[in-house]
Symmetry: C2
Subunit: 247 residues, 2 copies
């Protein structure tokens, strides 16, 4: 989604680059960063088993989960390198990118929950990413239970923020009868309200702010809705499939 | 795929039945039978986590694999019942269906392979299904390494056979440079050749015969190809997405 320079754009992100090139079954995916271990973040790995080399970057806790689930052995370790990320340690995965992972308030993946679940701790379970290339800086936080001091500092001054837009209101899935869980219980902060992300990022200096990871119950997906207008009026965009952003 | 009677068709299989009905996020899927534990047979479970009740039917070996992989805990056991299938034991899962699983020659799933792998053993790893409803009998065998005596007997006299059409020739993926494995090594028998399924089922009495589980290297997918004509001339159909069969 980040097009930091024409070169990177050419290599990684434009439509033509998404078609197979060279060998049959070629994929342009050369690296994957897992920001947590939930199904919507890890299940896609099961579709990447065509023996093309790529790297999987994640915290030791998330890599342990991948190792513990035998079905991920379909990723042949002769082709797929598992690489550990550490809080605050910058890596250079290639393509001129610098990537700095940092813990954000979250929770363990649903399938690893046992007994009482702590929500909002800053642990290896949930990452934000600071990505720099060609002089631009982008912060990616698809899941976040609350705005920590570190989140505020990393986001400040970024050229682009992609942030957790799971729900508009904390109890939206409960009210619709779809779940007994609030957004907070799932490790997400709602957009609206006193404790919501709209208020929390108000006044923070960011070049462009975009909601992503949007649940299908979130009314910001409906163009012209009151909720959509409220985020647009606050300067936010709503991400969509195939969105391209050039910095 | 099987429309055994207008009633069942109405309940389960026509296009309208595939749209959500009643509650939001309703799915018409009320039961799933796993014929083996490979990714293409089990990963779909990860998309069925909307807390709607359904049953998962599989051999103890395949259920053990599901239990051992923690990511399948997203299927809340309060909603999803895991039910063991035994070789040759008929169950009645509802909708007027009678279902009899039977071992077919196969192999353990790729992700469970360790050391030397035995191909073609008749074990809990790979199932065929005999499904009866409304007086019709359908045999479903999406993976099969060779035609055993039991396969031949179950298939004989069936109104419909859906059979493993993974590859046309045993070495097709090797020749294309896509894999170092033959179809046999992956637990499948090729369609063509002396040991192929086309020859093996020649002369067996079946109402309708359809190749399914077709790999994207298989030239029977190309309309008008020599290979497509060879299976059509032998009385086989080639399955396609959305295919409906009324018996």
């Amino acid at each position: 989604m980040l097009n930091a320079s024409p070169d990177i754009r050419q290599q990684l992100f434009d439509t033509a680059a998404l078609r197979p090139k060279g060998a049959a079954r070629h994929s342009p995916v050369q690296g994957i960063v897992l920001t947590n271990g939930d199904i919507d973040h890890v299940a896609g790995l099961l579709s990447l088993r065509e023996r093309q080399p790529f790297g999987v970057f994640a915290t030791p806790a998330t890599l342990k989960l991948i190792e513990a689930n035998s079905i991920f052995r379909v990723l042949d370790r002769a082709c797929v390198a598992m690489k550990a990320l550490q809080h605050g340690q910058t890596i250079e995965p290639g393509f001129g990118l610098r990537l700095t992972p940092f813990f954000v308030p979250g929770k363990v993946p649903l399938h690893e929950e046992t007994g009482a679940v702590e929500i909002g701790a800053e642990t290896e379970a949930t990452l934000g990413l600071e990505i720099e290339a060609g002089g631009a800086r982008f912060v990616y936080i698809p899941g976040c239970a609350r705005i920590s001091e570190e989140v505020r500092e990393r986001v400040g001054g970024a050229d682009l923020l992609l942030f957790d837009g799971t729900t508009y209101t904390d109890d939206e899935m409960v009210r619709l009868g779809l779940s007994q869980k609030t957004a907070w219980r799932m490790g997400h902060m709602a957009i609206s309200g006193e404790d919501g992300s709209l208020a929390a990022f108000n006044g923070i200096d960011v070049g462009r702010r975009v909601y992503t990871h949007i649940n299908n119950t979130n009314p910001i997906l409906i163009e012209g809705s009151r909720e959509r207008r409220s985020v647009e009026q606050a300067g936010w965009d709503v991400a969509y499939d195939g969105m391209e952003i050039v910095l």
